[in-house]
């Protein structure tokens, strides 16, 4: 026999009433916002094309298979360019990011009022703008080619590397720095013997991680003319050569998997 609850007994609820109301209100606002945005998207969509999409997708899929394997001989050089864009770009980014990171870290920056905000602004600007937009800009300035890609990748990576690096610098063990200072070391010696050994593993990990991301990103820079395998992708798309597109996509996939494997391996051996 079940006992009847005393009407005055308070039943357990996950949230209190006020919290419940707030949570419902947030849901209401979020749903309304989503519905409004969806309506706007829907207004600027040609739904006829969307209803036709399954047929088109099937058609493209049919044209994409089988890949045109013989095309691969024309792809080795762009692939090499892609690798170079990613690697040299990462190296240039590292060279530029290290000083920015030291200027941005609270415990190594010469002044928190002037220098640190500037360094943080550099980091934010570099991170907010995608490498494709950087290459769009650089192609328009220094002309199409591999160099534009390298510079774009390095400008985009500065923010990423500097951000993670300055966070690592801020997290170092201060006792070691103090011990080196106590031995009468100069500022440069404190940097070399007190700080650098502590952040070196993090630094190596960050660099390899960014290199891996840059391999991914450099595969598409060619779409805006900045060299690499993206150029071939763009050319094939423009002439609707779907079998070539398939082959390029397979190659990109392999490159991404390989670079991810290398980066995971290196980071694993560091940690």
């Amino acid at each position: 026999m079940t006992k009847k609850l005393n009407p005055k007994t308070r039943v357990w609820h996950y949230r209190s009433r006020n919290k419940q109301l707030i949570s419902w209100f947030i849901w209401l606002v979020a749903t309304a916002l989503f519905m409004y945005c969806w309506q706007r998207v829907s207004e600027s969509t040609t739904w006829f094309f969307v209803w036709d999409a399954p047929r088109i997708a099937g058609d493209i899929g049919y044209r994409m298979i089988p890949p045109r394997w013989s095309y691969i001989n024309e792809l080795w050089e762009p692939l090499w360019d892609t690798l170079n864009i990613a690697t040299i770009g990462t190296m240039m980014a590292i060279v530029m990011a290290i000083p920015v990171a030291f200027l941005a870290a609270r415990n190594t920056t010469p002044s928190t009022t002037i220098v640190r905000p500037i360094a943080l602004l550099i980091i934010v600007s570099s991170r907010s703008i995608n490498s494709l937009i950087w290459s769009l800009l650089l192609v328009s300035i220094i002309g199409p080619g591999v160099v534009a890609g390298i510079v774009a990748i390095s400008l985009r990576s500065i923010g990423f590397i500097a951000k993670l690096l300055y966070e690592a610098i801020e997290e170092i063990d201060h006792n070691q720095v103090e011990a080196v200072t106590a031995s009468g070391a100069s500022n440069l010696q404190i940097l070399i013997y007190g700080i650098v050994p502590q952040i070196l593993p993090a630094f190596a990990g960050i660099s390899v991680f960014r290199w891996d991301i840059n391999i991914r990103e450099s595969t598409v820079l060619g779409l805006v003319g900045a060299g690499g395998i993206g150029l071939q992708l763009n050319a094939s798309l423009n002439v609707l050569a779907w079998p070539q597109v398939t082959l390029i996509l397979i190659l990109i996939l392999l490159a991404v998997i390989l670079s991810e494997w290398v980066s995971a391996k290196v980071r694993h051996s560091i940690i």
């Binding site: 996950y14 979020a30 916002l33 989503f34 945005c37 969806w38 706007r40 998207v41 829907s42 600027s44 969509t45 040609t46 094309f49 969307v50 999409a53 088109i56 997708a57 493209i60 090499w80 360019d81 690798l83 170079n84 690697t87 040299i88 934010v124 600007s125 991170r127 907010s128 703008i129 995608n130 494709l132 937009i133 769009l136 800009l137 328009s140 300035i141 220094i142 002309g143 080619g145 591999v146 160099v147 013997y193 050994p197 070196l200 190596a204 991914r216 990103e217 595969t219 598409v220 779409l223 805006v224 992708l233 798309l237 996509l249 990109i252 996939l253 991404v256 998997i257």
Partner: protein, 282 residues
């Protein structure tokens, strides 16, 4: 009696060692195996000389470009917001709308996939299925997906929304699944021990544990989606990218700079707000 010579000997040894220490000490190398260390260095130098050798640099073109670079820097100092304000504002609003829509759709879809990709919740077939969706979504750049979706769904923001939603699924489900896999099992077990149904178990045993991180990740993805929405426009998938592309094509660097400044501003603002919300949730 016996202690004294031993002591002096010890002292002597220490002194000698200190002497040797201070003169010859150098920090231990980062890679301990010397063969690996020098091998890596050698390979690296070889690669570098090969790759720089194969670079085809047109210095004349770069020299000509410096002038334009200076113009861009000048444009950045004097951004022109008013000249094409209608185009810019329409593009930015469309980008924001795409970001909201795609983040919402992405979250809704990635929650079940994230649960399915957690090995401690899902049976093996479901796990493999969800993991393969994640792998597929993570392998390709947004822009490649956008090209395919524009070809399939036609020009316009819908292709962009679908692209960003698809990319969100890979990102969010993967991190959510990893978070679910590392939850505190005791709490979930305690809820199960009260005789809860499967839904109740999910809702009271697991959901509260992953909720703060899910909110944090969603906000972070909102940021990323806004930045990416500027890119998918380059291939006709809606958003500010098309306006930006036109500005660069016409060498209107002041307009381009204005757009970039607005993007940076919005990203900074949303990072600040999301940091505030995340601090409140956790």
């Amino acid at each position: 009696m016996n202690d004294i010579p031993e002591n002096t000997q010890k002292l002597g040894v220490t002194k000698m060692e200190t002497a040797a220490f201070s003169e010859n000490w150098s920090p231990p190398p980062f890679i301990k195996n010397p063969l690996l260390r020098w091998g890596l260095l050698l390979t690296f130098i070889l690669y570098l000389s090969l790759s720089i050798g194969s670079l085809d640099v047109n210095w004349e073109r770069i020299y000509v470009g410096l002038d334009r670079g200076a113009k861009f820097v000048y444009g950045f100092m004097n951004p022109n917001f008013s000249g094409r304000w209608t185009d810019i504002s329409e593009g930015i609003i469309e980008s924001l709308i795409m970001t909201v829509t795609s983040t919402a759709i992405g979250i809704i879809i990635s929650i079940p996939i994230g649960f399915g990709a957690a090995r401690n919740l899902a049976p093996l077939p479901v796990y493999l299925f969800c993991r393969s969706i994640i792998a597929l979504s993570r392998s390709f750049q947004e822009i490649i997906i956008a090209i395919l979706f524009v070809a399939i769904f036609g020009f316009g923001p819908l292709a962009g929304v679908l692209t960003l939603s698809f990319a969100t699924i890979g990102f969010l489900s993967k991190l959510l699944a990893e978070d679910i896999e590392s939850i505190d099992k005791n709490q979930a077990e305690a809820v199960k021990a009260t005789g809860s149904s499967w839904w109740q178990w999910l809702n009271y045993g697991i959901q509260p544990q992953v909720m703060p991180r899910l909110i944090g990740l969603s906000l972070y993805r909102f940021d990323i989606n806004f930045r990416e929405s500027a890119v998918v426009g380059l291939v006709g998938a809606g958003g500010i990218g098309a306006t930006l592309n036109t500005a660069f094509d016409r060498y209107e660097y002041d307009t381009a700079a204005a757009i970039l400044i607005i993007i940076i501003g919005i990203v900074m603002l949303s990072e600040y707000i999301s940091g505030y919300i995340r601090a409140g949730v956790q």
